[in-house]
């Protein structure tokens, strides 16, 4: 019964965060889909939706600040609200990276892709699962799941390195390929950054559950 009102507000914020997260996951999938198909219209949608994601961030941030100002939270309540502020920044940046991939799809032009995309879409699927699991770990305060997501980032880094190596060899063999290879390197790099942001979220969850865990201050 105590502070029931405050708990309700927190649950509502969680729902809003979840909605924002789902939009980000859609943006990531759609951006890679747009690149794969070189579909300029699909890319345009991703870019327009980024404004909606930014709006979600602004809204959650405002509500969080209001709760801090009006409810005087302490201890885990306070850490939870600070976590919201951190999570929305990470989600918003993921959205920016997805928008970046969509912009690459637009810049690419009508020339065919340098090679059929295989690894980047695979990477995207894994990254989307990481985002989903990081949000799930936040909602359930599941530090084991959070830790598992953090470890999965290594796999993404390996994808990134492999894609980079492959595209570099394309460039070495054919200077004509440099422009298109660079686009794909950017896309893979953005994807790798998105995974890092999911990792940030999971490190924040560890701190939320265990405030003595300061590992996230040493990236």
């Amino acid at each position: 019964m105590l502070r029931e009102h405050f708990r309700q507000e927190l649950r509502q914020l969680e729902q809003e965060l979840l909605k924002m997260g789902k939009r980000v996951i859609t943006a990531v999938r759609e951006s890679v889909g747009a690149l794969q198909a070189l579909d300029v219209e699909r890319a345009r949608h991703v870019i327009a939706d980024d404004e909606v994601i930014n709006g979600c961030r602004a809204e959650i941030e405002e509500k969080t600040i209001q709760l801090i100002a009006t409810q005087q939270p302490v201890a885990s309540d306070l850490r939870e609200l600070i976590a919201f502020l951190d999570l929305i920044v990470n989600l918003e940046r993921m959205g920016d990276h997805a928008k970046g991939i969509a912009q690459i799809a637009q810049m690419h032009g009508s020339q065919p892709l340098l090679k059929p995309l295989i690894d980047i879409p695979r990477m995207a699927e894994r990254v989307c699962a990481m985002i989903e699991d990081s949000l799930q770990a936040f909602l359930t305060r599941d530090i084991d799941l959070a830790q598992a997501v953090i470890e999965r980032d290594n796999e993404i880094d390996k994808f990134h390195e492999r894609i980079l190596g492959e595209l570099l060899s394309f460039m070495l063999h054919d200077p004509e390929a440099i422009r298109r290879a660079t686009f794909l390197i950017w896309a893979a790099h953005n994807m790798e950054r998105i995974a890092d942001r999911a990792t940030n979220i999971c490190e924040r969850i560890r701190f939320l559950v265990n405030p003595d865990d300061k590992t996230f201050f040493h990236p």
Partner: protein, 252 residues
């Protein structure tokens, strides 16, 4: 937002020569909690007391302007004061139960106002005590003196006593100032329940209480209403510099 249940129009109040309220124009929304804050002597308690004309009892008080409740000016000559105070109940700083049993405290108002049927009193006592979440704790000792209850229980009982009059508006004048923090929080939770059916106006010295427990906040200073707005807005981006200075502790 639906029209305010209480509206003040160019309300001025004087204690003899001293002007305690200056041109107050305010609308209190129905079924919400409105907190009035401001430094001592700013007029917030005076304004609260205007809403059920408690100031009438003080010599030398003159009022100009209007206070409309449900659209009717409560200072109109035709106003039935007793009906007004049934409609607008009040809870005070220190719990003030009558030196009677718990049961009689609840039925007192019903008897005085000759409301309801005596055979239904038991049911009404139960309902009132349930509404303030006292029933389970007190149902087996309704004949004990109300003065033996804890301060928090006494304050809940006083709220229950107000509820039996079926008011639409409950005025609270620092209802938690005699209570410890846990009891305070419980009363605040109770207010959240009550606002589903009642309009609550609370005067508080405790700014944190206004912030966490109210939907709207009125900030008063030197007899003037400086700012009125949603509590979330007032405490994060007040429109007036004076409000900001006060809530951030720069004066007052």
């Amino acid at each position: 937002m639906e029209k305010g249940i209480i509206q003040t129009v160019k309300l001025n109040l004087f204690y003899d020569q001293f002007q305690a309220l200056i041109d107050i124009d305010m609308e209190v929304p129905a079924r919400r909690i409105t907190a009035m804050i401001g430094p001592s002597g700013c007029g917030k308690s005076t304004l609260l007391r205007v809403f059920n004309r408690m100031n009438d009892m003080i010599d030398g008080v003159t009022v100009t302007g209007e206070v409309r409740i449900d659209g009717k000016n409560i200072f109109a000559p035709s106003t039935d004061l007793i009906a007004l105070r049934e409609k607008v109940g009040m809870v005070f700083q220190r719990p003030n139960p009558f030196p009677l049993s718990i049961y009689q405290n609840i039925t007192f108002g019903l008897e005085v106002h000759a409301l309801g049927n005596k055979r239904e009193y038991s049911a009404q006592v139960q309902k009132a005590l349930q509404d303030v979440i006292l029933w389970d704790a007190l149902k087996d000792r309704l004949n004990q003196s109300a003065l033996d209850l804890s301060l928090e229980q006494q304050q809940r009982l006083c709220i229950a006593r107000v509820l039996t009059m079926k008011p639409r508006i409950i005025l609270m004048d620092e209802p938690c100032s005699a209570l410890d923090p846990i009891a305070t929080m419980r009363i605040e939770e109770l207010m959240q329940e009550l606002k589903k059916d009642y309009t609550i106006v609370i005067v508080t010295h405790n700014m944190q209480q206004a912030a966490r427990a109210s939907d709207f906040t009125a900030f008063m200073y030197l007899g003037k209403l400086i700012e009125f707005g949603e509590t979330g807005q007032v405490f994060t981006r007040p429109r007036e510099q004076l409000t900001e200075n006060y809530i951030s502790g720069r004066f007052g």
